[in-house]
Symmetry: C2
Subunit: 296 residues, 2 copies
C-alpha cells in the first residue's frame, strides 16, 4: 500500500464486496474484492468483517454503500426520498457501529410510480462530483436490473428500474425458450435485428415468442437466437426512453453488457458517453468528506 489510508470505502453488494483503502484526498491506495456479499454474511458477522478490513487497510473509519443497508444486510438504512444529493446521503447515513456509516438508498415514494435504488446512487453522484458527468444528466446503469437515472443540479430526481437482465436470465434458464438461447450474445446482425423488433414491440411477452417461432420456421438461425433475444429485450428497455434525442446518456458499468447498451442507445438515435471507472469511490469520498465536516 502506498501512502496512509484515511478511511475505508466499501461497495457492499448482494453477492460481491469491493473495499478500498482511501487517502485523505480521495485516492484509492489499495483494493480488495471478494464474494463476502450480503448473502454470505449474517448480521452478527459484520463486526468481525469490519475488524478484518481495518487490520488489512490500517484505517479506522468505514463508509459502506449498497445492499449492506438493506433488510437483508447488516442493518436497514432507510431510503431517503428523491431529490437526493450526496449531502443528503451523508446526513442520512446510519451510524451502525463506532466509526462505521452505512449510506442509505434512494426512493421514489410519492410520485406516479414507486421505485428504489441502493448503491447505484453513490456511483451516479460520484460520476458528477468527480467531473466525469455534468450535474444535470441522464444515466444508464446496465445490470441484472438496468437503471435509468436522471439528475438535476447534482440531485437524483427520477429513475426507473427495468428487469431486463433478470428476465433474460429467466427465459434463458427456464420455460419454453430455454435450450434455444445457448448461443453467444454479442453485437452483430441478429442482435441489431432484435433491437429493431424490441424497440417497436408493444409488449415483451408478445415479441419473445417470436424467437421460438422464428427458429421453428427457419427464419432465425438457432445460433443467432440468444443474440436476437438479447437485442429484443435491450431494445424494448431502451425503447422506454423518449428523451434519447435530447441529451447524451452517461453509461455506467463498463463491460460487455454496457457495450451492448451503447449499441442500443446509438441505434435508437441517442448518444452514449461511457463514464470511466472510479465513480463509486468518488461518491463515497464526497460522502466521507461531508460526514467528517459535520463531525469536525
Amino acid at each position: 500500500m502506498v501512502g496512509r489510508a484515511a478511511y475505508i470505502a466499501v461497495d457492499w453488494g448482494t453477492t460481491n464486496r469491493r473495499a478500498y483503502a482511501m487517502s485523505e484526498a480521495g485516492e484509492v491506495l489499495d483494493t480488495l474484492q471478494d464474494d463476502r456479499g450480503v448473502l454470505a454474511l449474517t448480521p452478527g458477522e459484520y463486526p468481525d468483517a469490519i475488524a478484518q478490513l481495518r487490520e488489512r487497510f490500517g484505517a479506522q473509519a468505514v463508509v459502506a454503500a449498497g445492499m449492506v443497508g438493506s433488510t437483508r444486510g447488516w442493518r436497514e438504512a432507510a431510503y431517503i426520498d428523491a431529490p437526493a444529493t450526496l449531502q443528503d446521503l451523508a446526513e442520512a447515513s446510519l451510524a451502525v457501529a463506532p466509526d462505521v456509516r452505512i449510506v442509505p438508498g434512494v426512493a421514489l415514494r410519492s410520485g406516479p410510480r414507486p421505485d428504489v435504488m441502493r448503491g447505484e446512487e453513490v456511483q451516479v453522484l460520484g460520476a458528477i462530483s468527480s467531473g466525469a458527468a455534468p450535474p444535470t444528466a441522464l444515466f444508464c446503469q446496465p445490470g441484472t436490473h438496468n437503471k435509468w437515472i436522471a439528475t438535476v443540479d447534482g440531485a437524483i430526481t427520477d429513475f426507473a428500474t427495468v428487469m431486463t437482465g433478470e428476465l433474460f436470465a429467466l427465459v434463458r434458464t427456464h420455460g419454453i425458450l430455454a435450450g434455444m438461447l445457448d448461443g453467444a450474445v454479442a453485437d452483430g446482425p441478429a442482435f441489431r435485428e432484435g433491437l429493431r423488433r424490441g424497440s417497436e414491440a408493444r409488449n415483451l411477452a408478445a415479441a419473445l415468442f417470436e424467437v421460438r417461432a422464428g427458429v421453428l420456421l427457419d427464419r432465425l438461425a438457432p445460433a443467432d437466437a440468444a443474440a436476437y433475444a438479447s437485442g429484443l429485450m435491450i431494445g424494448a428497455d431502451v425503447g422506454t426512453r423518449t428523451d434519447l434525442a435530447e441529451r447524451p446518456v452517461h453509461l455506467l458499468g463498463g463491460g460487455a453488457l454496457s457495450a451492448l447498451y451503447d449499441v442500443a442507445i446509438t441505434e435508437a438515435g441517442g448518444h452514449a458517453v461511457p463514464v470511466p471507472d472510479g465513480a463509486t469511490t468518488a461518491g463515497i469520498h464526497a460522502i466521507w468528506q461531508a460526514i467528517s465536516k459535520v463531525r469536525a
Copy 2:
C-alpha cells in the same frame, strides 16, 4: 357409452390428453382425460396408446390434434400457412398409421413476424363451425401462452402468441419477485390497479419492478402483490390489441384465467363473449367429415 362411436377424437397436448368417442353426427358419446400427454410418451409407444383407445371406445378411426404432431410428439405434421380453414387442415392431415390422422398446426411464415400454433386452430375453427362464433371474428385463448387469433370467412388469417402466463410463472418462482407473489390471484382492486398500470406500460420489464418497490415502500400490500402483478401482465397483454373497441372478443377456455381476461378486456373498453365448451370436438368433427368425404 350411449350409441355407437364412429371415430375417436383426441386433443393430445404436452402434458394432458383428452379423448372422445364421437358419433357420426358429432355428438360426444364418451370421454377420457389423463396425463398421457406428449411428454409422457416416446414415439414408439403411440401405437399401443391408440390400440387402447380403440378398445376402450369401440371405434377404429382416430383424428388427433395438438402437440402430438410436433417434433416432440409422435411424428411431425408440418405447419400449414395462414390463411387456414378446417378444409385446409383436413387436406394436410398426416396419415401416421392405418386410420390415424394427425391435424397439422398453422404458421405465420412469411409476414412481418413469425408465429406458430398447434391445437388452438381446431378450437377456434370449431367454435365457428358449431355456430358459437361468427366466421369473421377475433378470439382470445388464455393459457401459459395466450393467443389472439383473427379469422376471416372461416379461415385463420392472423394471430399473436403472448407469453404472459409463462412469464408470470417464472417471476413468481424465480428471481427477485419470488416470495413476494405467493398471495391469491383474483379479480379485485389490486388486480384492476395492475390492469391500469399494465395497459399503459411501455415495457413489462420496467413495470414489474414496481411490484417490489411498491411493497418495500408500503404502497402495495404484500397480500395484494400477486393479484397486482397478474393484472399488470394481463393488462399489458390486452394492451397489445388496438382493435378492442371495434369488435367483440370471443373468449375460449373457460376457468379462472379466462375470467380474469374477461375483466381485462372489459376494462380496456372491449366486450368479451365466452365461447361454450365443445369447440375442440366440433373442430375435429368437421375435419373428420372432410377427411371421410375425400376418402369416400
